[in-house]
Amino acid sequence: MAAYRSLRLEKYFFRNNLNKRSILGTSAVLRGSYSQPKQNEAVDQRRQFSRHTGAKYGGRYTVTAIAGDGIGPELMGHVKHVFNAMRKRTCIGRDWSVCYRVADVPVDFEDIYLDSAHDADTDLAHAVLAVKRNRVALKGNVETKHLKPGFVSHNLLLRVSLDLFANVIHCRSIPGVSTRHGDVDIVVIRENTEGEYKSLEHENVPGVVESLKVITRESSKRIARYAFEYARQQGRKKVTAVHKANIMKLSDGMFLDTCRQMAAEYPELKFEDMIVDNTCMQLVSRPQQFDVMVMPNLYGNIVSNIGCSLVGGPGLTAGSNIGSDFAIFEMGTRNTGKSIAGENIANPSAMLMAGVELCRYLGLARHADVIEKSIWRTISEDKVHTPDLGGTATTSDVVHSITQKVQNEMRKW
């Protein structure tokens, strides 16, 4: 029975990952094209969608690790542990103590501290520089002290400084996790740099505050292009644009028009648009109708959280922040998890899935598959569930189970 279940899971896994290529990143090639004549814009933009091509030293990548607050540090530790678990022990003669780095994930982490204890401008500048240096980062969430006057979220500043314009969250139902809805497979692609998150606010008259929401055609085009390219390359069928253009006629209207124009270039993909409140309603009644969804910043925040919640909660989904040159991987719902920090009950799957996306982005598809399969097996077959999934296991139990499976897989290499 267990063997049959395992085979079923293999098929499910295989079917869902058949076309999975690396998460779309954008290559450094464009940076060399400043002096070239302006080509067809669509061709230019399409060339962006390839993988990370930052430097490799000694065959290994360096990844910035920003642990953040709350459960970030402990989960970052677990990711490093699992990545190293891929190390294979080799026997030389009868000496088992010698250990070669045969098949571990070729990633070295550079720890950068950006959290509530390190929240000065210089700390942020160091973090931005580190990500620029290494091109890619794995990140926990940094707490935002919104009571402190003049304080802007460091998570936001990091994303905007590095121009990580696309936030991609893939919400997939995992067999073995009991949820109210099954068969959910939604990719939420959210514009990540503008919209309501411009932090442009002022108080002209005491007691009257204005907050500006800015939508530009350039950014809308960029995110629409990303969404359609993603859908095409990953073999998806439909793209839904989410908006509120009945009320915000100019801003969301422009976003919607841009998406419609982009849809014309991808005739094989079905395109539809939906108002955000109807979208939320449909998500909780019939989420299976959605495939790829593209939307401005705030609606993306809401829809991605609903999507993550539909498949089992914040502990299961990873989020990728992709820009032309850099990428940052994190947990999909961007929580600090302050209330459960240090108690060993946080679900490490989301952060580990972020690690998987990181591997794919770096071109380490084989490593990514091994870790992802191990996570899925742990959740679906062995049902090692932390309290957020209704179980009683600790974080360490889950990580131990995943590590064992990873090591078993590595022996086959």
Binding site: R180, T216, C280
Partner: protein, 286 residues
């Protein structure tokens, strides 16, 4: 397009109104008439009680919450400009007066209806000044009503937990856009806009109660529509006017009619027409 003067005079005289759906064109055309109504009569709070309907099964049972949404300003101020070609700005307006008004209403509502807690939903980590002001007003209102528990939560956290465990929430108070989205989300939990009542409360006891679903032009005039939303809104209206006993009676009858598979309308999975459903409700009332 403007609201006809006759309508304005009538509502000003009677103070209470019951309204069906109005359509708004997308991306162009006149401003939403629903919005215009709310602004004209200063209906500052939109109240939407969402309770799981016995007899109409959704994946969510035990939903029993109320969303109270600031109804006049926020992201729906309608102030938009094209700065240069390709850059549009939309202004979200939050004022102390409106925020205070809706916050105090929320607590008064909680006390009047026996609710235990009020949660302010915001995004003050990103929109520090505007949502910060709203939050501050909620905090000050909370101090005046110590018997009601007060909580504040980020919008994304609320969405996250709402979809997993809606039992956690009681009364939610929030600015305009979040309220629009969250109230529709909660309506989706209990079965959709076809069964959700809604009331817009103004100053001095004025109120307009409405059904919030669309105009559904494809089934108009065919006796297919589900009148539950408008009916439950009317029951809310009766309660607001102090005729609570009648309101509860009709509400109960409506729930009985939905429970019975024979008398459910098509959108709820039954086969009854609109008139058949109405007759059934009348029968249950007697």
């Amino acid at each position: 397009m403007v609201i006809p003067q006759k309508a304005i005079d009538s509502v000003n005289k009677n103070k209470i109104g019951l309204k069906g759906p109005l359509a708004t064109p997308i991306g162009k055309g006149h401003q939403s008439l629903n919005l215009a109504l709310r602004k004209t009569f200063n209906l500052y709070a939109n109240v939407r009680p969402c309770r799981s309907i016995e007899g109409y099964k959704t994946p969510y049972d035990d939903v029993d919450l109320v969303t109270i949404r600031e109804n006049t300003e926020g992201e729906y101020s309608g102030i938009e400009h094209v700065i240069v070609d390709g850059v549009v700005q939309s202004i979200k307006l939050i004022t102390e007066v409106a925020s205070r008004r809706v916050a105090e209403f929320a607590f008064r509502y909680a006390v009047a209806n026996g609710r235990k807690s009020v949660t302010a939903v915001h995004k003050a980590n990103i929109m520090r000044m505007s949502d910060g002001l709203f939050l501050q007003c909620c905090r000050e209102a909370a101090e005046k009503f110590p018997e009601v528990q007060f909580d504040e939560m980020y919008l994304d956290t609320v969405c996250l937990h709402m979809v997993q465990d809606p039992k956690k929430y009681d009364v939610l108070v929030m600015p305009n856009l979040y309220g629009d989205i969250l109230s529709d989300l909660c309506a989706g939990l209990i079965g959709g806009l076809g069964v959700t009542p809604s009331g817009n409360i103004g100053e001095n006891g004025a109120a307009i109660f409405e059904s919030v679903h669309g105009t559904a032009p494809d089934i108009a005039g065919q006796d297919k529509a589900n009148p539950t939303a408008l009916l439950l809104s009317a029951c809310m209206m009766l309660k607001h006017m102090g005729l609570g006993t009648y309101g509860s009676k009709i509400e109960k009858a409506a729930f009985e009619a939905i429970k019975n598979k024979e008398t459910r309308t098509a959108d709820l999975g039954g086969k009854a027409t609109c008139s058949q459903f109405t007759d059934a409700v009348c029968r249950y009332v007697d």
